[in-house]
């Protein structure tokens, strides 16, 4: 087994050597990070899954034959067939259409809160990490409270205060979810702050905002992008569990979580697998894809990991 692996590596080396000697290998035009990412099979599969699901959700009106909210009581609880490939639910709504349309909202909530919390967390975190002092201390304490408090309870509390709606949910997710992003950005900036180029800019008296956001922030972009993919996965799961409890997006809008809400009924869980299995699989695939992409990005951004 070991022998086999070595010879495979040897073969790869021989190939490179041959090309190098012929002068075929020119300086790599493609960005090294991108090339390492594309060489990672799992990451590419993950990216493919994400794009496939996202695009079919976006183009749902073209793909689906049925409206997601169209009630057809004569065809209620039909198993998958040629007419309804994922079957129908107990009001006769087409499950396939609902899964695709549901994807639109779920992905919007996931990416929206992922990016939204990243913007807030990074903007505050990088300045706090660079500047330190009372500004840093204040936000550090707030973030500690947010992280220590069970998030689901916080969300429940906020839902009862501001009410249930798609935009409120996004708002709540961003409000409760920026803390980890803040801490990550702050930690990165703390180490970048010691770099000599930052000292040089300080010696010129260049303004803090320019140093922080123009010069330092681009060096933290790697971990930020990784964190966005991973936190998006987390928000999608959170939306699902909230909607499953009936507290997420209002039930009249189809989301993956709202479709699963139907599976609270024990007889549906037992007898009508086609209602809850497709959204379940969609969620798993999408989250899995995000995690693959996140891991791939982490390896690609890691300079010690050779490709």
């Amino acid at each position: 087994m070991n022998k086999n692996k070595i010879s495979k590596l040897d073969k790869k080396m021989d190939k490179i050597k041959e090309k190098e000697e012929k002068g075929l290998l020119k300086e790599q035009k493609m960005n090294r990070t991108l090339r390492k990412f594309l060489n990672n099979k799992l990451a590419v599969i993950g990216l493919f899954i994400l794009l496939a699901i996202t695009f079919s959700s976006i183009f749902a009106p073209i793909i689906c034959r049925y409206e997601p909210g169209k009630i057809d009581l004569r065809n209620a609880l039909k198993p998958p067939s040629r007419a309804h490939i994922f079957g129908t639910d107990k009001l006769g709504k087409d499950v396939f259409a609902r899964v695709l349309y549901g994807g639109r909202i779920s992905i919007l909530v996931g990416f929206g809160s992922g990016i939204g919390s990243a913007i807030i967390g990074v903007l505050i975190g990088s300045y706090a990490g660079y500047k330190g002092g009372w500004f840093d201390k204040t936000f550090l304490r707030i973030s500690e409270v947010l992280i220590a408090f069970p998030q689901i309870i916080l969300v429940l509390l906020l839902v009862t205060i501001v009410g249930q709606s798609l935009w409120n949910l996004l708002f709540i997710f961003i409000l409760t979810g920026w803390a980890p992003m803040y801490r990550m950005a702050r930690a990165r900036m703390l180490s970048i702050r010691e770099e000599e180029y930052v000292q040089a800019l300080k010696a010129f008296g260049v303004s803090d905002f320019v140093i922080c956001y123009k010069h330092m922030l681009p060096n933290a972009i790697g971990p930020i992008v990784i964190n966005i993919t991973l936190s998006t996965a987390m928000f999608i799961l959170e939306e699902t569990s909230l909607s499953f409890l009936g507290l997420g997006v209002p039930l009249n809008l189809p989301t993956w979580g709202n479709i699963l809400y139907a599976a609270q009924n024990i007889s549906i869980l037992r007898n009508n697998w086609w209602i809850w299995l497709p959204p379940g699989i969609m969620i798993s695939l999408f989250v899995l894809g995000l995690n693959f992409v996140g891991d791939g990005l982490r390896d690609a951004f890691d300079p010690t990991y050779q490709g």
Partner: protein, 334 residues
């Protein structure tokens, strides 16, 4: 002639295959390490000196490979072809602990911070020499004392972070010396420490050579370190050995333009402003876009069209060899 060397390296080439490219880091390198002597290997960053050392220890990174050549360790009971041994086989591991050991620039990477220094020395004693715990501890204390660590009875139970920089270096040497190795490879052993501490370590290395008849292969970029310690010198540039000779031959009768230029661009203490530094023009070439023939010719004052061919090795004396077409001109032009 053969009998007085402990390690022979013949026509060694090592290529590195990182980032889908092939870097010919070491090309056709041959040298001998003489018993009981200090061989200094000098070169600037990227010249392949550390890669050569890793190849001898079979500690090359995964994406590097010995392409050709042989590394022969002359043991008391016969020769061992190190390049033929399996990278992590039991034979190689035995050689690494008992025959050849290596010390590094940064002692903190070689010492494990969660174990006491004594424990780490005792580990290898117990493993390689089958000592009992009591014996191993006594030997560890003795070793620390020999390396000049004050109150070793107490220090043996301390952790690396409780040692100062110079003492860590000594502890690492003590660890390397634990099983009486035949050859010690020191990779930039004093680069990270201050000159006054460096002087202490020099003293220690000379003591090892004189009292224990240690053979040391010293890798450095600092001509001063070479001048102080080495008996023989190997000068490397861009993966090849350009000149090889005794310390006096290299310092006084340098025959390769690179060696000569290198000596001329170092300020010498005591000569002050009166000395004229002559920088070597240009920069070291891109390892993926090497010049044809002699690697040094684009920066060389003696270069001619002849230099587009790889130069042969000329012997000036029995010990002094040089890889340059124009070594006669270099020697004449004192």
């Amino acid at each position: 002639m053969i009998n007085d060397s402990i390690l022979s390296v013949n026509n060694l080439s090592v290529y590195i295959y990182a980032n889908q490219r092939c870097n010919k880091a070491v090309q056709n390198v041959s040298f001998e390490v003489k018993k009981g002597k200090i061989l200094g290997m000098i070169g600037e960053s990227g010249c392949g000196k550390s890669i050569t050392a890793s190849a001898i220890m079979q500690l090359l990174p995964e994406l590097a490979r010995i392409e050709e050549g042989e590394i022969i360790f002359h043991d008391d009971d016969g020769d061992i072809r190190i390049d033929k041994l399996e990278k992590n086989g039991s034979e190689m591991r035995k050689i690494r602990g008992e025959k050849i050991t290596m010390i590094f620039q940064d002692p903190m990477t070689a010492l494990n911070p969660v174990y006491t220094v004594g424990f780490q020395i005792m580990e290898s004693l117990k493993h390689h020499l089958n000592m009992s715990k009591k014996q191993a501890k006594d030997r560890a204390i003795e070793l620390l004392r020999e390396m000049g660590i004050p109150s070793p009875e107490r220090r043996v139970d301390e952790y690396p972070h409780q040692y100062s920089g110079g003492m860590r270096q000594r502890a690492m040497i003590a660890m390397a010396m634990a099983c009486n190795p035949k050859l010690l490879i020191a990779d930039e052993p004093t680069t990270a420490i201050d000159v006054t501490i460096q002087a202490q370590i020099f003293e220690l290395m000379l003591k090892l050579q004189n009292q224990y008849n240690m053979t040391i292969m010293l890798i450095t970029h600092d001509m001063g370190v070479i001048a102080e310690l080495a008996d023989d010198v190997v000068v490397m540039y861009m993966g090849s050995i350009v000149e090889n000779g005794s310390i006096d031959e290299i310092l006084m009768k340098a025959a390769h333009p690179y060696t000569k230029a290198l000596l001329k661009c170092i300020p010498i203490l005591g000569k002050g402003k009166s000395q004229e530094l002559e920088p070597i023009k240009g920069t070291t070439p891109d390892p993926y876009d090497r010049p044809k023939g002699c690697q040094f010719y684009p920066r060389c004052d003696y270069a001619t069209d002849k230099c587009l061919e790889v130069p042969e090795t000329y012997y000036i004396s029995e010990t002094h060899s040089v890889k340059c077409w124009h070594y006669m001109r270099v020697l004449e032009n004192e």
